[in-house]
Subunit: 299 residues, 4 copies
């Protein structure tokens, strides 16, 4: 990694050494917030921002994200988690505690179209995406100079339908070796097997180049052109085993008109794709997303 990026990340970790985030979902019951906030208070934590939402207050689903500060958080983390366990059990919570200073380790998978990869690397370099990027994997050599000039290891693993299993094995080894938390498919264009998906559930973020569920599958711009739509869009979602059917994180659209041919739709769409993907990744890195069934709550 380039020195200047490294020092930027280090300074971010230092500033945020006492900052944590608690993400909880469970069935709604009286007294949950009271219990959580008492717990945080008793451990010296001060809540900075909290957002809570219940689908149905009478026994429906309850979701909360709490952004807090607590002195000596890094040392205290284990204690906090142990002490919270009984509360979590009482309410049968699904929960996560994240320290902002423990940057997520993000792998990016790319292909020949560098549009999305470039945006991610740029925003990262610019201090907008706070993560470690230990490696970029691609089935083409195209991205190598862009990646290596930032000091990021680049792995060229030519992938196709034929060698999928073998390639995925190597990829999973790399993910494990580099201790990866989140995988971003920046127009990777290869379908992942259920085995790969199962290894990182709700940790693989994809960008699809259409406003889903319109134009699921291949060649969405060509089909958008044929249909004569007046807006084109992009959708970022977590990858599941159903193609383009995973929980949607973010979407956006942009106006086009009859003068746009397929190539111009692609150029226009590329701009939406990179922005939508970057927002989705940012929200994931900031622990803003709770997956609920096949939907996301983005706080």
């Amino acid at each position: 990694m380039l020195k200047e990026i490294e020092s930027q990340l280090n300074s971010f970790k230092k500033i945020n050494k006492n900052r944590g985030r608690l993400l909880i979902s469970c069935l709604d019951q009286p007294g949950i917030i009271s219990k959580i906030s008492k717990f945080l208070f008793s451990h010296g934590a001060n809540i900075i921002e909290s957002n809570q939402y219940s689908i149905n207050p009478h026994g429906g689903d309850f979701f909360i994200r709490i952004d807090f500060e607590a002195p000596d958080l890094i040392d205290k983390k284990e204690t906090l988690m142990e002490d919270f366990q009984p509360i979590a059990e009482t309410f049968s919570m699904t929960w996560e505690l994240h320290l902002v200073s423990e940057l997520k380790r993000m792998a990016i998978f790319a292909s020949k179209d560098l549009n999305c990869l470039r945006e991610l690397l740029w925003q990262w370099q610019n201090g907008d995406l706070m993560a470690e990027i230990p490696l970029v994997v691609s089935n083409h050599e195209t991205a190598r100079p862009l990646v290596e000039q930032l000091g990021i290891p680049f792995y060229y693993l030519p992938a196709s339908k034929e060698n999928r299993t073998e390639v995925e094995k190597k990829q999973l080894q790399l993910m494990s070796e580099y201790d990866i938390d989140v995988i971003v498919l920046a127009r990777y264009m290869q379908i992942l097997t259920p085995h790969f998906v199962a290894s990182h559930p709700m940790k693989i973020i994809n960008i699809h180049h259409s406003f889903l569920p319109a134009f699921v599958g291949a060649r969405p711009y060509e089909r958008a052109y044929q249909r004569g739509v007046k807006l084109i869009g992009a959708t970022s979602h977590y990858v599941t085993n159903d193609l383009d059917e995973g929980p949607i994180i973010e979407q956006d659209t942009v106006r086009v008109d009859h003068r746009f041919d397929v190539d111009e739709l692609k150029k226009m769409g590329g701009n939406i794709e990179r922005n939508v993907l970057a927002r989705a990744v940012k929200w994931h890195l900031q622990d803003r997303i709770i997956v609920h069934g096949n939907k996301t709550i983005v706080f």
Copy 2:
């Protein structure tokens, strides 16, 4: 019709008595624009705004819309059309000449949800949609007071799958009796038969409550909710025999989030629906739309 609306329309017709619009499509060939503009000049017409577009200049499709003024246009119309005929034949043109002062006669078909009907009537009353509205047809009584207070005849024709043929017969009689140019389905919620559609080709404008081609067919908001989309939309299109597959005129989307239930999606979407439909109707009334295959050119 209310006196104040009538006098508003009359004043518009007077102001625009010399204003016309020429819409042409044909195969592209050298010299078309030269011929057309020479023709207009020789008839004393001054071009106010013109927009031309060719899909492929080497023998592809050519489209033009010309907005012009010519003295004594109303008297001259027949001559203009006769004189233009030979040019049209030379280039095998599909063409229309519209006089702005000859207001289109627009029928609105509504049902119980008055959202879109209200917007159209309001914009009409406000001078934003320049048309005659000789009647509103509905399969419910709900809209009667709203319609009749503007002095517009209201026809209650309860329609269902069972009596479709019979009802359409009456509707077509009304369309003919009132000499209707364009039919707007303002959330009419009934499927039209091919017979009805064929009677007004590319003159029936529908609003579909989703961003097509996502959620074709029934209950789009329910399905949008299930899918967890982050934007909802609406699409206005000309009606063809393929449900929700006609040429798209206009679309728009609006941001929603996890807090929206189906009812709130509907309320949010209703706002988009009425604006999208009103824009599509306005463009049709202003002769801005050329249909080309299953697409529209909107100048």
Copy 3:
């Protein structure tokens, strides 16, 4: 009021009879949320949605909005308020408790341009704005039929620079007589005196027909046309004694181009105005807004 609207409001009040909202702002200190949530829990309240935000966790400002349900809330209100008082004092809170079933009483001030008034009345009729509307005041007769057909008393009070004091006296009498909670200036076009403004601090909502702070003051569309802007906008804000300088609640813009003359800018802008104002009013009615200095927090 029309029977159907009345019954719609009554049904809303019934459904929401146990629903309340707590809005709090104070200096940030440890333990606030813990105290509030314990208080609500001990009074049998279940939190449905809560949003909290601190400008600076180290002694900065703290804001929270809690949407909750509690059995027998209407009977319990007084007790709740008394019991909360000591907590409020401990933390020097500014706070409000609202019962959703206690609909706000909203007066609308209009003039000749009915665009915004119509949108408000329509959304109200449609069940999107939950409030009583005991009266509409106008300095022109134009709106009378529109208002009276909904069964709302209409007061024609011709206002001008000359008789401002006298007219405002009558208006204040009406506000007091009808026990008004919030006043919406739906393109009222008259400047209010400091005396009037002081009588309803942060309870008067205005719509300004530009994207503030661009084009403060008179004739914004004319000035937008002169400047050749590519977007026009509208701003809804609370009224203070500084013209167009009060806390902004909501803003939006829409694209225009060189073909728009001043009248068309006005038509285009009118659509933005009414939507921006309706959103601002809705958020106010839903107790989503906390005013902080000259800004708003909109939860």
Copy 4:
């Protein structure tokens, strides 16, 4: 310049060797379009896209942009210009003929904030901005690696209020030496003297980091934060001697809320800035813009 970019530009020039654009403005008079189209036809030109607009058809201003193809255009250019001269004189036209294959020579002026510069270089590399970029000038060394890795000469000319005249002299020398057609100020942050501006009238494109005319001048984000706006924007305009008052080419806005501090407004705004500037530059390079008084017509 990198070989791959060079070959991309060369291939673009080859494909478009017969493509030209005619931009005309004059007082509206009958027969203009007829004359122009006859002229083009008689020189073998086929019109691909044409857009015409008159502010007022009765002697107001007339503007047209014609995109055409003509065989052997490069060889024919001189003849075309000579032959068009008499027509131009008859109607007192201001006019320009551009060959798409004669790429404009664009200089970029940057400073420390590389956001806009990066977007321009990226879109250029990606084939979205068709121009030669013979040099980048900056008053800081920050951009050097980014610029030089694309094979573009980088000139470091530290500029300040004190040495403005001297620095501008060098800059003008460079502009002349490199035969520059258009100068883009990509957050250059230095005020240009009237002498410099006069040397390239309506050929210097600036990006201002606010929605003009809101927040003219310095520190717009700080002032937007103070004012509590709900949208922030950016404006691209031609530079004149009145600071931030030149003809606006493009503007856009994006939604923000109370949680954004000044730094986050800047990050959010940066994304709008770079997109707005890139669109404005693209339209300039495509000869889509006619300046009329202090406004632009963008076809």
